[in-house]
Subunit: 354 residues, 2 copies
Amino acid sequence: MTPRGAPSHMAREIAEIPAVVARALQEGAGELDAVAREIGRRAPRFVLIAARGTSDHAGLYARYLVETTLGLPVGLAAASVTTISRAPLRWDDVLLVAISQSGAGPDVAAVVEAARGAGAPTLAITNEPGSLLATAAELVLPLRAGEERAVAATKTYAASLALVAGLVARLAGRPAWGAGLTGLPEALETALVEAGAWIRGPGAACVAALAAAAEALVVSRGHNFATALEIALKLRETGRIFADGYSTADLLHGPVAVAGPAIPTIAIRPDGPAGAAVDDALAVAARRGVIPWTIGGHEAARVKGALVVAPDLPEPLTPLAYVLPGFLLAEAAARARGRDPDAPPGLSKVTRTR
Amino acid sequence: MTPRGAPSHMAREIAEIPAVVARALQEGAGELDAVAREIGRRAPRFVLIAARGTSDHAGLYARYLVETTLGLPVGLAAASVTTISRAPLRWDDVLLVAISQSGAGPDVAAVVEAARGAGAPTLAITNEPGSLLATAAELVLPLRAGEERAVAATKTYAASLALVAGLVARLAGRPAWGAGLTGLPEALETALVEAGAWIRGPGAACVAALAAAAEALVVSRGHNFATALEIALKLRETGRIFADGYSTADLLHGPVAVAGPAIPTIAIRPDGPAGAAVDDALAVAARRGVIPWTIGGHEAARVKGALVVAPDLPEPLTPLAYVLPGFLLAEAAARARGRDPDAPPGLSKVTRTR
């Protein structure tokens, strides 16, 4: 339990994110080079990603980034196919990427063992280089995030995204967005300051609305679909708000039925075509009385009360910046609801599912 | 709007499901044979599935069934990679399966066009053989479900699952569960009777709990993960209940924080190892006061008040049976909440997202 008045572990770990991302990319540069060389040599044609919880959202980001930048089809591995159905997959030409903060989940490690046993290249992205997962995998990228004391993972999520981006940039040669990696820690530092100021200003009403709400929606599209799911998970974990994240396209195929003015809605709106698609869906939601809180880039400045954050970051890297105000909102909403953001009910830091 | 006292379109379409499944499998047998032959000839090594909404859950079922039975890795295609990022994917050795009741969504059709343009085999599973999607795809399996008047798709979902199972059974030769396809319509007929009796008996308290609830959880594991997501979507669409579906493994990685005695929880518990994994998660949820409503097979009979449905159906086919009580619960809960199950707010039958 955090003493009264002291900042929560979660708040302190969010504040560490720019330094954690810098360390992951700079101290990890040699490992990123080596892993990219080995993956390049094995030339996989399909990527499967195994992860759970927050790491599953890092995996979703990886899925979009690999598809948009490398053009390789990506699937999210269903652990139960290996651990429950015990069905052998055909692993030829597949790269398996497992992401886990603790590296302790036996189900994710079992998928890695199955893939490695079949000769497929396996990569573990984890904060625990001595873990079950890291031992099972052929290749390891350590997060170097330091100890994470809050149950809700924040800095390890950011470090996972940074390593995914660093690896995909190397595998792609020089993608247009790759130059954004150099200034990423500084951009996140500025983003945290901007997000903090927003939460004390126009965003205070968003915290108040979340504090009073039983339910919430978080929506986006493209690379930031992961951001929407991750912010919604944090609102559930720390604030015990029934929050759902959606792709704005999926929102219109059913879930918009539950939207309305009483349900706070957060729109993650990147610049460009993904942002235009978010606008389309929000126009439909507006007919149901939804007035969203908008977080985005240059184009989001048109929306009254919006938070514009890291507007010069290339769009594929914006998930690292846009999640920051979401983390801060979840932490602040939990406190406003009288809950300890560091002690979500029913959760522990390491979850061992089979 | 359904006249007062008359059964809803949704109720009538749920009742049609056994006949619809019989028609899809029997009248479609020749097409299933031909499509299986052509896919077998092209020998894909990866499968990508494109779908939205309810059809996305049929796609999730296809993903598990293809992986457990054929051993081919499966991904769910993100339409935005094609339609928003305009990134070309490497389609060599990939089979694209698109599932859409209306076949009218431009985003799903755009993914099919991209795949077909690259020479990949493309299959559309749709209720509209003259649709945009069916025209775009090289191979078509029609659902033959007849006109679906309710906005909430029920019989087209069941027909989609039946065609997926019929196709995978053919591609696999003679899988152990394949024999279950012959008696499937009769098993679903019996399941509907059993589910109806349960809802008027011990399940009436479940309807009452859903009617009074703002939120609900639906959980399962393995092939029935899709069932959990689909029942949750129906509760959102028709009942305007904030319902979330989870794999029981994912539930423990965060969302269990929102579980509690005030939130009705429905557990889809198949017999065998997937059911044992559901039990593990429910034991954790029980410490948070969760007493689930259980729907399952022989082993579920141990649970007081459980609905045992189609207990002799092979586990990979149980998603067709277990979704039926879920559909009935969603329809009944909507009426108990004073809502017209046929007219969910903000939704229309055909959703055109880009």
